[in-house]
Symmetry: C2
Subunit: 326 residues, 2 copies
């Protein structure tokens, strides 16, 4: 069976790093690629940042690889997460040997709730002066995330996971989140520890090795994983996976980098590692591992794009990764 | 006129660092101190973490100096902020020469909205499965914060301020916040730049000198200022001020430090600098400046408590600060 992978380069450097990752996927597997549009450019043309056709493709493919979108990022990425019915956003933040990092010992994985919290999309203008947003937390979504987290740490032989939240203030909603997550973990015999999201922000700077896998509500995961990106040297190297029950969406955490877009010097590593996560998701564990190792090896002593202080092109780096795959 | 200062040591090291700061205040001014209870200990005794009497005292004094509370922190500090009708939480995060910091060049001030956002306190259990929290943002609170921010940067000759928010997702609420803040600044001729709160988390790690004064909604200010604390070496040195129209509440950002409480070795610097902010709030600018300078000088080459690698006591450090005040 040939899996169908939808490929959405999007805007800016998305158009450079996604083809790079596709060439890596082509080298290790036999997939059917379907390209689709999304982002600022297609919005300028058609009035829609995420054409219905793209949404439908993502909603039916086995997996989707997305690059980046500019101003329309939220209009593209949030519906795409819904298209694949993604309930968890997996965000590894790991420093690579040989790459400058504020905290080179950082090796974290965020498991971010991906459907609710402040992202549920209920906002109201109640008066000239006052607007509200309804933050939603359900036990069912929290439990689904927790089951995933338990599988995740068991598969990878972690000791357990941390739960980051703000239940001292959001007692009912984050209290529900925390209780549901901890209770699933208890039932499964998986260890957890709790940390307030503000305390996490301080403590992860002081010593990131205190944490491994961090389970958090949607916005907490957004901010804390970006903080971890700062500790490993920026968004440039961070992959992510939006996992649903039947399909998934993979994307580098970085944006469109308008300052360098079109110059052919974007660092493709984050997208290639996102492709490695895609391979693993589809069950190609060996291929995924091989791609990760190749990227890591190139980061350590191969050609470097300008963001890492080198003068190699996207193509040079991709070529080096392909070579080390053999 | 002798100003009345309510003093609430609270729990843990609050009982050690607050008296230290009081002795500094006594050395530079003529104040009437009234001591009041709050925290875990008084809750254990009376069932109330914040006795009505303490609330009333804070609500009528010129200023309040609070130490820390343990498990009951939220039950104490949130109502105390209300007691002084505080609309802004001022949180400087500055690295001190001679003190280990992940980013020694950090010198930031967070101006955190202090009345609404997710802290408005509206949560509901709508079903067995689902709870909601109503996040509240008003133009009036945002404008009041913005006016304060404009005064703040004008008084201190900053170029302008940054506005951190998540208006790409919370379009109505954070959109309202951003629009209100930017529009006040525009009217006042104060420059602003905008940054998404997640992007801020990455960027402040990579280069904290990109930012000076950062205006943010309540929870964003909570998390981002704690992140900045991580960059300057921990919560141990961070002061804060909760400013209202007629009175204010000052507190170190750190907690009760149960591991060292009672040993007389807590670092009093954050509380003494909070007292300096109190002096400045009451109009004693020279005295405030002198206290800051004395603390900074002791941090640079004076006795150090164990958290900074020394073996001095709270008293030794306080004594050194008092000496350098003369
Ligand atoms: C673009 C934006 C809507 C998105 C989010 O908030 O989830 C981004 O910050 C991310 O983390 O993928
Ligand atoms: C104790 C807690 C309620 C409080 C807050 O969230 O504001 C604390 O984290 C702070 O920043 O002062």
């Amino acid at each position: 069976m040939t899996e169908e992978i939808v490929v959405i380069p999007g805007d800016g450097i998305g158009r450079e790093v996604v083809p790079a990752a596709v060439s890596v996927l082509e080298a290790v597997g036999d997939f059917e690629f379907v390209e689709a549009d999304a982002g600022d450019a297609v919005e300028a043309e058609t009035g829609e940042a995420l054409p219905a056709e793209t949404y439908e493709l993502a909603a039916s493919a086995d997996a989707t690889l997305f690059g980046a979108a500019g101003e329309t990022a939220a209009d593209v990425i949030l519906p795409l997460r819904t298209a694949v019915d993604s309930f968890v956003n997996v965000r590894p933040a790991k420093a690579y040997p040989g790459v400058d990092a504020l905290r080179p010992e950082t090796d974290l994985v965020f498991l971010r709730e991906n459907t609710e919290g402040v992202y549920a999309g209920h906002e109201d203008r109640l008066s000239e002066d006052l607007s509200t947003l309804t933050r939603v937390v359900t036990t069912s979504a929290s439990e689904r995330l927790a089951e995933f987290a338990c599988d995740y740490v068991e598969d990878r032989a972690y000791d357990g996971f941390s739960v980051a939240h703000k239940a001292n203030v959001m007692r009912e909603t984050d209290g529900r989140f925390r209780d549901a997550v901890v209770s699933v973990a208890d039932d499964r015999g998986v260890e957890t520890d709790e940390v307030l999201m503000d305390a996490f922000a301080t403590r992860v700077c002081l010593d990131p090795t205190q944490f491994d896998v961090v389970v958090c509500p949607n916005l907490a995961g957004d901010v804390l994983s970006d903080l971890a990106a700062g500790l490993v040297g920026g968004l440039g190297l961070l992959p992510s996976a939006n996992i649903g029950p039947d399909r998934a969406l993979f994307e580098p955490v970085h944006g469109t980098a308008p300052d360098i877009a079109g110059e052919g010097v974007a660092n493709p590593s984050a997208t290639i590692v996102s492709a490695a996560m895609l391979l693993e998701y589809l069950g190609y564990d060996d291929e995924g591992r091989a791609v990760r190792d190749a990227v890591e090896s190139v980061l350590a002593d191969g050609p470097r794009t300008p963001d890492l202080g080198g003068d190699a092109s996207t193509e040079d780096v991709t070529h080096a990764v392909l070579e080390r795959l053999d």
